[in-house]
Symmetry: C2
Subunit: 292 residues, 2 copies
């Protein structure tokens, strides 16, 4: 059993980006600038956005955090998005989800300039991805692909079972892994809440990508010997013994499943750190494209 060490690979990627940023500075050019818009005070969102901003600082990016109150109107947020689109100093930005219920997420998403949409969530970018065109790949599936590539995991002709059909993980990774290219060319089955007898599929899988959000869901009896496991689940389980009041766990019963796996991502330290690294990578790409 080998660990797919997302933390290590993410640090490598961040170092590579930092080298590029240093070169940009040496040439006297503008460094990449990422902005993040956060509405309200959701705990997890605050943590994620904070982590993104800190990562920017570490690798030499400029970053701007726009923190708006929970009762921000849709109109105000749309104006904020329009301002970011118009602001030539910003190379890319994200609007942290979920948004408060009184705001139509789809409307906000459609207002983001696709050329600054480093989350890759805008339909134009998502469509380009599905049609094998160059674009911003959403950070989590992009991170999974990069992890597979850097560990040289054979995916061609392998049966990959994706658990979950969300717009940010299950759907894009099922598309990416079944396309042509490196870490791709897999035969992909997408499973979800309406799938009957899920373990009939997971038992056949050479590779499993689980993005379900149910702690310890995937058990040893559900996988075959030698499987590659990508655990995208990140659930906060309340735990009074921890200083922050919870611990983070994945979809996979790691203790049970790891001995049967050829490769497995830990949680935390697997896909999570890769997601932030790839957001930074997309921001660097945005900077370069705007310069071309």
């Amino acid at each position: 059993m080998n660990i797919l060490d997302g933390k290590k690979i993410a640090n490598q990627i961040k170092e590579e980006i930092a080298v590029e940023v240093a070169q940009i500075q040496t040439r006297g050019e503008k460094v990449p600038h990422l902005a993040a818009v956060l509405v309200g005070n959701d705990g997890a969102s605050l943590t994620y956005v904070g982590s993104k901003v800190r990562s920017c600082k570490k690798i030499g990016f400029e970053s701007t955090l726009i923190h708006l109150p929970e009762d921000t109107t849709e109109a105000v947020l749309l104006q904020q998005v329009a301002d970011l689109n118009a602001n030539s100093d910003i190379d890319g930005y994200i609007v942290q989800l979920p948004l408060p219920k009184h705001i139509d997420e789809e409307k906000i998403l459609m207002a983001v300039d696709p050329d600054k949409d480093v989350d890759g969530f805008h339909p134009t970018n998502f469509g380009k991805m599905a049609l094998d065109m160059e674009t911003f790949i959403p950070a989590t599936p992009f991170g999974i692909m990069e992890l597979l590539r850097r560990y040289d995991i054979e995916t061609e002709g392998k049966h990959t079972v994706v658990i979950g059909r969300s717009h940010i993980v299950g759907r894009p990774i099922s598309i990416l892994m079944s396309q042509k290219g490196k870490a791709a060319n897999a035969t992909v089955t997408i499973t979800h809440s309406r799938t009957k007898d899920l373990q009939e599929f997971t038992k056949q899988a050479d590779i499993i990508v689980s993005a379900l959000g149910v702690p310890d869901f995937l058990k040893a009896t559900m996988v075959k010997e030698g499987v590659v496991i990508i655990d995208v689940g990140i659930t906060r389980v309340p735990d009074a013994t921890k200083e922050r009041g919870y611990y983070i766990t994945g979809d996979v019963d790691f203790e049970e499943v790891a001995p049967k796996a050829s490769y497995i991502t830990p949680v935390p330290g697997g896909v999570g750190p890769m997601t932030i690294a790839m957001l930074l990578k997309n921001t660097l790409l945005a900077r370069k494209r705007r310069q071309d």
Copy 2:
């Protein structure tokens, strides 16, 4: 064994559209107007475009065929596309593929106004489809979904195996059938040229959508009893005994497979007629949306 009679359903749909067109005329409003751009003299393309134009006439649409010579430059075609975007009389249009090799298809595609892209091939529309947003669904997968819906085929939780990952059939149908909704909620496996042991998958399938383009490829030994077969293959096989010099055949060995199938589309008369009907449906939708 039941035939999924695409010709019959397509005629029903066209009749429904014709009724709506008659109502539009009665109200003194502008009827839907579809334009088709054809570059060069490819035999199959001429047939398809001719058939589309004739169908428009039959149901009361206006139609315009713009037939350009094989040596049309990319710049001239881009200007043509810009003119169609600007022409408020045109509700929707298609640029018939393939284009001559000296023209960059992606460049042309990106120039089409997504609101007039009744083929649903523009990344913005494709992305909206993948993200469960309202859009134009590409005509062939849209036709398959409509055929499944009108025959009330149970798809929820069923294992659907798609053969082929093309942008116009395999990819979109694999997305649509695994989404929420009617004729959807299936567990979908997408297979392709790099899939190992394809029949291991087809043998498990409750539903098979074949878009391979290899005549008589799917044999009885490759499917299970009771399977639903959607044959999207349309291959012209040279045949001197036919007046037009060829006959049309699908991916499925119909003689062998039909007796094992619960439902099966014939070729011709299955998915083909549905494709044209759904293009007309998209044009009607485009007209309505432009009016709103």
